[in-house]
Point group: C2
Chain length 484, copies 2
């Protein structure tokens, strides 16, 4: 049966509409395109939506790279690099050396344009954007993959920028894990949500940034950093694969954990008390062959919420094993109603409700249950889902998601997020024409249609050569979680 002509048109129209909106969001600085504004919604006050957010720009950047508009991305990388603090700051209220701002905007003074960066000092609740510097490195590497031109990374300014980011990530610290210790709300979830300590999202981005930096750093003069990366990578990888993983077998193990174990031989390393877990819910929810990476792990803490960005990027970056990646996709497929519903896809699941909402979010009215960060639905995540689908050969799932989303997104004028258990309510405070919703949609389509573009953001298996360099450390405990 032939497809009705008006539906065909609609499909094309939606993409055309998206492209037009994306074009409109491009931010110019001194005559050159350098990014995209967060939202181009003329119906409401701009607040900070007239800024270019680093994490938001990633989806625009990737679709620009695919479409050959590499100049915008190059300009973005060059300008944000200039905003990175290069000197050690004595003033504790200033951003640390190496950080990349959360966002920037073009400010005009006496006809002279300049960029104003925000490292969190303007942000609501003054949260620090730890993810920005990690995304910046991931994006720089994507630019190189797209252009096949390594020269940008070899420029001294870029080598220095990469090095400074690695230095702040690998700095001497109080922690004794391969993971990064961060404050609450330091990533896409930029409000208090119980993701202090060692949240999955930042560990996965950290892993991808380490992989990218390792590819781009010139060894000469950076031997110390390269050695530190080579040692950290396998430990971080094994740590996440082992301690963050949840499936029914692992849940069975945790369920019978002894607590209060003292000494190196402890099995319940983090002293998790089973009563703190919703094990009865998970017993029902976890498919036999499904699994996922937990949201956070710390002392007596195993956050069993499912976080989409961390799990999807773990697949894409090869941080999850092949088996774990398949299990994550199986979980999403089997729990489609919960995780995708009527608008792909939930930023996390389930929502914090009642007292837990009150205590963990600090009564945040924007993060009420099943809204915004607290289990709202974020269309931008669709590009990561598409990429993960390509990587795991489950492309049919991504097609299904896009089919669900496309007409509504267009009709609803590309809101940033949706609320409710099924995602059928337009986000209570969502802007329309939110750039990363638009770019994420276009990027998802592109990744499905041309799986080759997965290479922009994906990594191959961690080479055994790198792994072997870490053998002298904890290879005994690392080994079983690296080999498959």
């Amino acid at each position: 049966m032939a497809m009705p002509i008006n539906e065909l048109l609609t499909d094309e129209n939606i993409e055309e509409q998206a492209w037009r909106a994306l074009e409109q969001s491009i931010l110019y600085y001194q005559g050159r395109p350098i990014g995209t504004v967060a939202a181009y919604d003329v119906s409401v006050e701009a607040l900070n939506y007239d800024q270019c957010f680093v994490r938001d720009f990633v989806s625009s950047a990737l679709i620009f790279l695919i479409k050959g508009r590499t100049d915008i991305v190059r300009n973005f990388l060059e300008e944000t690099l200039k905003l990175q603090p290069k000197e050690r700051e004595l003033d504790a209220y200033k951003p640390g050396r190496g950080l990349i701002p959360a966002s920037f905007k073009v400010v005009s003074v006496n006809g002279q344009e300049h960029l104003e960066a925000d490292f969190g000092e303007h942000a609501i609740a003054r949260v620090t954007p730890v993810d920005s510097c990690l995304w910046w490195i991931i994006l720089l590497r994507a630019y190189i993959v797209a252009t096949k031109d390594y020269s940008i990374a070899y420029e001294p300014e870029f080598q220095n920028g990469i090095r400074l980011i690695m230095e702040i990530c690998l700095a001497n610290r109080f922690d004794m894990y391969p993971t990064l210790l961060v404050p609450d709300g330091a990533c896409m979830i930029d409000r208090r949500m119980g993701i202090y300590g060692h949240p999955l999202e930042l560990q996965v981005l950290f892993y991808a940034a380490l992989r990218a930096a390792r590819e781009m750093l010139i060894c000469k003069g950076n031997q110390d950093i390269v050695a530190a990366i080579d040692n950290r990578l396998p430990l971080l990888c094994a740590h996440i694969r082992q301690h963050y993983w949840i499936d029914i077998n692992r849940l069975n193990t945790i369920y019978r954990f002894k607590s209060e174990e003292y000494g190196k031989a402890a099995v319940n390393l983090f002293n998790i008390y089973v009563d703190s877990l919703p094990y009865y819910e998970l017993d029902k929810w976890l498919p036999i062959k499904g699994g996922y990476l937990a949201g956070n792990v710390g002392p007596s803490q195993l956050d069993t919420r499912f976080f989409a960005l961390g799990n999807l990027m773990a697949i894409i970056s090869d941080l999850a094993t092949e088996e774990q990646s398949q299990a994550i996709m199986t979980l999403i497929e089997e729990q489609w109603d919960d995780l995708m519903g009527d608008m792909p896809m939930k930023i996390c699941f389930p929502a914090l409700e009642n007292e837990e909402y009150r205590i963990v979010t600090g009564c945040d009215p924007k993060n009420i249950p099943w809204s915004y960060h607290n289990a709202g639905s974020w269309p931008v995540l669709m590009w990561m889902f598409a990429a993960a689908s390509v990587k795991t050969n489950k492309i049919g799932l991504a097609r299904k998601a896009i089919e669900i989303a496309k007409v509504r997104l267009s009709e609803d004028e590309w809101p940033e997020y949706y609320d409710g258990k099924k995602g059928r309510l337009i986000g209570k405070q969502a802007r329309k024409y939110q750039t990363w919703t638009i770019a994420g949609f276009l990027l998802a389509k592109e990744l499905m249609d041309n799986p080759i573009y997965l290479s922009l953001v994906s990594f191959d298996e961690l080479s055994p050569e790198v792994i072997s360099r870490a053998c002298e450390f904890e290879i005994g405990s690392v080994d079983p979680f690296l080999s498959h």
Copy 2:
């Protein structure tokens, strides 16, 4: 009326008994006394109570210094300094350069004694002891005050040790506050208790350690660290005095906070939602002239629990203003039943109960409401209370506390902690003959009887000269909180 002779005897007997027990707790290494074991309770298995914990030893060390037994303290400082990692560790599971272990023990292999350090890798839940390196510096300075011999600090090994601790504390980091970002349970409360991020206890110890390090570091060769300390001190001081302070005026301000403020002019800097505070309880509990420093401040987080160690050490170290110090003592006096009860003094108040206990502690059975860290009573805190009483000229309060505690402590054989709202239950899992209970009691008595010893741990007002060096930074916002 003459004091009955048996009561007089009892008083002396208690002290004698305490001294005997303290002597018995001394740990020897290669024939030299180097510390005290955590508890000398022959009735139960030692587990890790046969170790010398750095934070526990502080009270023993101070009483030894007062009594002229300075050799033990010197040996302790020298031996723990040797345990400090001096090189950058590539293995992420190893303690960072500069850290001082949580504890150590003497191990004998083939008749050869050596020390085995624990940086948290043996500990239950693998918590990192951030406080150890801070206490170590504070104790080194106390040794110098007691002996009037600066030469130990000037030894190259000690200069290097101080420098390394300062380096890890002042390292480049993600945070944009003068405070230290730490994992949960990194101090005396070494289990999950919602004290992740920027808990008061560690900020106060950080402040005292900065002050102590500033006195002891030779400027030559350490100009960078000294400059960093000089800049951090006034910012940290003003930050705590401003953002952690709670009294009825401040509560009124917070109660009418607007939320979701964007930009540098925001008044509700951390975006606190009033619904997250027990403002109705505080309205009743806060005396007109009383106040205290909050337990923790972060994005949408103001932990209004009262934590004793942080508040008392803030008085002693001069981190609290004179006015704030008086207000803290007033609060303790007016809420004596809650904070002192029948066994001084509560480690924090009030307890986390019901859902809040479940969620914040991760269902920790040792930290059930009104037990152990969760609002249990810890006699060791009495020495800090005595010191704070001396500093604020409220010595009568300390006498009252000692009177309450002494007979029970002796009769109960010096348990580590007490449970219940009034502290009348011996701690559910408390050891007897816990060294810091014993030493804390002796130290409290000594501080009251000879107020001059306060100088071992106290600091004078931060000199205007140091403050002025930071003027170039945020003095506009700092100023009103430094002048009293």
